[in-house]
């Protein structure tokens, strides 16, 4: 079986894969990084979003072999080594942007990608950007609020109660 080599969360990672091994399978099964989730098989739900060479990618719709030599960032690599969560993660906790947590890794990775290219997105821009991230629990209200808060915008006037 071919070997694949890449950098994951700043550390070299390699393993034996088949041609058909998806990046998400390599992460979850070869590397034991189970934070990235599989929620669908039509590449729509976004629970599997990671960053490959700085870009948000659905890891269930990319082969591990295609990530040869790439820099991959998963949810496990977002918080600081001492465990301090980043601004997006903290905002999600502060604003209750997650319930069951299953879509959350993909949401956080998508949110980080959004803020990297659009540092202060509007509500509409956030909702549009999350088209490929499905959540069944939160109704999206607190997710959008959390992302706006993470970008430094004032969310105190967003109707909640």
């Amino acid at each position: 079986m071919p070997q694949v080599k890449m950098t994951v969360n700043g550390k070299p990672a390699s393993g034996e894969v088949e041609g058909r091994t998806l990046l998400v399978e390599f992460l979850r099964e070869n590397l034991g990084l189970t934070g990235t989730h599989v929620g669908c098989d039509t590449s729509q739900c976004g629970a599997c979003v990671v960053h490959v060479d700085g870009k948000a990618v659905k890891s269930c719709t990319m082969f591990a072999a295609e990530a040869e030599g790439a820099e991959v960032l998963t949810i496990e690599g977002v918080a600081a080594p001492d465990g301090t969560m980043d601004a997006v993660q903290q905002a999600f906790q502060e604003h209750h942007g997650l319930q069951c947590g299953f879509c959350t890794p993909g949401m956080v990775m998508s949110a980080r990608a959004l803020l990297a290219e659009n540092p202060t997105p509007s509500e509409a821009e956030i909702r549009d950007y999350l088209e490929g991230n499905i959540c069944r629990c939160t109704g999206y209200h607190n997710i959008v609020k959390a992302i706006m808060a993470a970008s430094g915008q004032d969310v105190s006037t967003i109707a909640a109660e």
């Binding site: 071919p2 088949e18 041609g19 058909r20 998806l22 098989d41 039509t42 590449s43 729509q44 976004g46 979003v49 870009k55 948000a56 990618v57 659905k58 269930c60 719709t61 990319m62 082969f63 072999a65 295609e66 040869e68 998508s110 990608a113 959004l114 950007y129 999350l130 088209e131 490929g132 991230n133």
Partner: protein, 263 residues
């Protein structure tokens, strides 16, 4: 998925050689359509030839004729940000799928697949684009042969798509609520020598040109010119998301909106 090997050539010549080596070898663009297909075990290639590592077929430039030339392995995200000379095309690319899909999906892959609800076929047909392959150049009018069918021969690889830049253009997409593909998508482009109106999502035959609308708009490029025109629901896709009549109706609505948005 069934098992297969993956080759990742870095030059077009290598890729062509791999494709020619066996009929069981299949080209892999961004994979955003092919991989879901493979997961359902609807295809069983022996080898996938990945095209996204070939720099020479990736990128955006302009040719001497003023056409915007897009390498087949260029991602939707790259077209959305880079095709500034052709704003309607960039906007179309920027609204395909979602951000993560746009970081992988390619124009070559989309056109090679010719999904009857995809957006790029409407842009290519609506622009009178030229599909350049490793073997020849195919005008858009000769390229699309029906739902999921194109003029490409076995093993032929799209390398580039050349778009003449119009005076005005816009793409209006009415999304199918589940897939977010085009339930009906209309690309309208006004050139010095006429108007092209390309429709995706509606017909069982895939993308088509609405010649009646093109003629009306050629003499009067305004939403009003399309007002009295209609299409029959016969031959239109009829499914859970809308009848043929509904799609036919939407073609008219989206055409008018595209004309209005084109300016």
């Amino acid at each position: 998925m069934y098992a297969f090997d993956i080759e990742r050539p870095t030059t077009l010549a290598e890729a062509v050689k791999h494709m020619a080596a066996s009929e069981e070898n299949q080209a892999l663009g961004g994979g955003q359509t092919l991989i879901p297909t493979l997961k359902q075990r609807l295809a069983s290639p022996e080898k996938l030839i990945s095209l996204t590592g070939i720099d020479e077929i990736r990128g955006i430039c302009e040719d001497d004729a003023g056409r915007i030339c897009i390498g087949a392995a260029t991602t939707h995200a790259e077209v959305a940000s880079g095709a500034t000379a052709y704003p309607a095309l960039a906007a179309l690319a920027g609204n395909i799928g979602d951000p993560a899909v746009r970081n992988r999906g390619t124009i070559g892959g989309s056109l090679a697949n010719n999904d009857p609800s995809a957006c790029y076929p409407a842009a290519a047909l609506g622009s009178g684009a030229t599909i350049v392959t490793d073997k020849r150049e195919i005008p858009a009018d000769d390229y699309f042969e029906g739902m999921f069918a194109t003029a490409l021969e076995e093993g032929e690889i799209i390398t580039e798509v050349k778009f003449p830049v119009p005076q005005k253009a816009a793409y209006m997409k009415f999304e199918q609520p589940a897939s977010r593909f085009a339930l009906v998508g209309v690309f309208v482009a006004k050139y010095a020598d006429g108007v092209r109106v390309a429709v995706t999502g509606a017909s069982e035959e895939g993308v088509f040109r609405w010649s009646e609308a093109e003629a009306a708009l050629a003499s009067d490029f305004s939403a009003g010119a399309v007002e009295g025109l209609s299409l029959s629901g016969d031959g239109m896709i009829s499914d859970l998301h809308g009848s043929g009549d509904y799609r036919a109706h939407l073609v008219g609505v989206m055409t008018k909106r595209a004309v209005a948005a084109a300016g």
